[in-house]
Symmetry: C2
Subunit: 357 residues, 2 copies
């Protein structure tokens, strides 16, 4: 594979062909997922919700890859054309991601509440069946059956019910927004442009080097990681993630931003590696450690958003103090998940042998 | 030192003498502290509060050592006499400890609230000046100056004020209780018995071996540590300390008990080492690691009690949801301190080379 790659990029212009082949592949996958989503009825009544959700996930997956590739290998492509397409792909994958995000956020919070309230049951629904907004077993949260442990348990149950109400509503809205988006002329314009990619990628004549562009993606990642407070993150229980946790009304806190940024750069790096397998500097790169690092940053993002959702729910007017207390415990629990994810990322990154060129 | 010890315990009866010398020393210290406490006016108006607090601390210190020694080296002593004295010493040191405990618990919780609400100031008073119940700077907690971060900050300030009210009241009561105790006939009986120890320790003729008794204290400790979930504690961010955190109305949770038990056994072991320096099995024992382990268990206890105080405050009737939310965050924060302390203990214990005989 690496051998073939070296031969291909040896000649000028072939760099563009490698990128074009990858973009064609992803564009074809995008169009296939779109067809599949339409055939599944788009999760409309009568359609297969799970198929629609799978199709939407595949659609997002290829949209992210196309967008990332247009960004990393920009000098090889018609700049105006790809600069216009990228924000549209971001809009699309962002819109499609919301429904799933609300569903898995609710699941994460209810699972945490179950753990905190000592119940062993987990929500019946998984995010896999996110196509149909529905009930996610708050019924399994312990209610006020046991007088002795009344106050806190009631708080946990009420907090669970409140979160379920708020996040299910948000999810239902996201579902409608996604369906609307998929029927919009804005979306059809995106789909038309992706169809162009599937047949003929708009390349431009250039001496830009494929390896150098992939290396740039990698060095941007390395720089961003170097700027993270990794030393602190490597000391367990540093209590960093809760600092100022009671200050700002708006979440997520600014301390999360550089980690979210690294998450996106790691993604761009990984897509670049798909285009240029065995690219520069990744020689001895243990792919497992990279996967682990990416998973840690996903968990970081999810926990940060779940913590924000708990804090948001606590600002609902007229809730009982016991409910607010449970939401406070839940918020702090998720912020510690944020801290744990940073620790996990630091560990995975140490295993990583990626070097900037 | 070890050499001298081997010579001393070689002859029968000398074991009793070693213990008697230690007990005389501690009893003399007890009586000296008591005199000092009386001279300081017992923290009554006009007395020097700091001196009284220091004296009370010294009194507790020797009471704990006498009690521990009576327990560990029981076969060397008049059993009936020492069995009667031990619970009285426990009552005394327990009663005297309360005031300081409430003061430092409040300080711990206010410091945590400052950290959580992003303030940099720390309470003006330290537990060192615990003799006089008084104001512990809630005024420094950010109030609703900034509209943008209003809700949560108000909650933190209110939570701080509530904790200050409750724990200052508890501390004032503990102060009165301690003064009453020191004036009671029950206390005078304890002081009389300690005075007996200072002049003539009631030994009994026995073949019991000093080293063997110290070794028993050590093996009890080792057994209790072996029963702890150390493997789990060694994995950072295991989230164990918050499990069922929303279940029980009564704190501290049962999961803390074995750790508290080890804390007491470690203390007994350390006192036994004071009696028999360089005792059996402690050959290469790094004293620093043991001090570190003991400090971790103190922190474990303090954080567990602070978490319980936050949970207790959250059950105050008619508090605002924002206050309850802040108390929930604070509770979870302190439970994570509990988990962090277990991790620290596990680390320190690994360095420890103590082996059971």
């Amino acid at each position: 594979m690496a051998q073939q790659h070296l031969e291909t990029t040896g000649a000028e212009g072939c760099a563009g062909e490698v990128v074009a082949a990858y973009l064609r592949e992803q564009a074809t996958e995008f169009l296939r997922s779109l067809r599949q989503h339409r055939e599944s009825g788009g999760a409309a009544p009568g359609g297969t919700a799970e198929e629609a959700a799978d199709a939407a996930r595949a659609l997002r997956r290829s949209a992210r890859r196309i967008s990332g590739t247009l960004h990393t290998f920009r000098p090889l492509l018609d700049a105006e054309w790809s600069d216009a397409l990228r924000p549209e792909l971001a809009w699309l994958s962002g819109t499609l991601a919301q429904e799933h995000a609300y569903a898995s956020r609710l699941e994460r919070l209810l699972c945490a509440l179950h753990r905190l309230s000592g119940a062993h049951a987990v929500p019946a629904q998984t995010p896999a069946s996110a196509g149909v907004p529905g009930r996610v077993g708050t019924a399994q949260l312990p209610r006020n059956e046991n007088r002795a442990s009344g106050h806190l348990t009631v708080g946990a149950a009420k907090a669970g019910a409140l979160l379920e109400r708020q996040l299910t509503l948000a999810r239902t809205r996201a579902h409608s927004t996604a369906l609307q988006a998929l029927g919009s002329s804005r979306f059809h314009a995106v789909a038309d442009n992706v169809a162009v990619l599937a047949s003929e990628v708009p390349l431009r004549t250039t001496t830009a080097d494929l390896d150098a562009l992939a290396a740039t993606a990698q060095s941007r990642l390395a720089e961003a990681v170097a700027a993270l407070p990794l030393h602190r993150a490597g000391h367990p229980y540093n209590a960093e993630a809760l600092v100022q946790g009671l200050t700002a009304d708006t979440a997520p806190p600014s301390q999360d931003a550089p980690w979210h940024h690294v998450r996106l750069l790691l993604r761009l790096h990984r897509y670049a590696q798909e285009v240029v397998p065995g690219g520069p500097g990744t020689g001895a790169c243990p792919a497992d450690a990279e996967t682990e690092a990416a998973a840690a940053l996903d968990r970081h993002r999810d926990a940060a958003e779940a913590a924000a959702a708990a804090a948001h729910a606590a600002r609902t007017p007229r809730i009982a103090p016991a409910t607010a207390y449970a939401l406070g415990v839940l918020h702090a629990d998720q912020r510690h998940e944020v801290e744990a994810a940073r620790f996990a990322f630091q560990r995975a990154w140490l295993k990583e042998t990626v070097h900037t060129p």
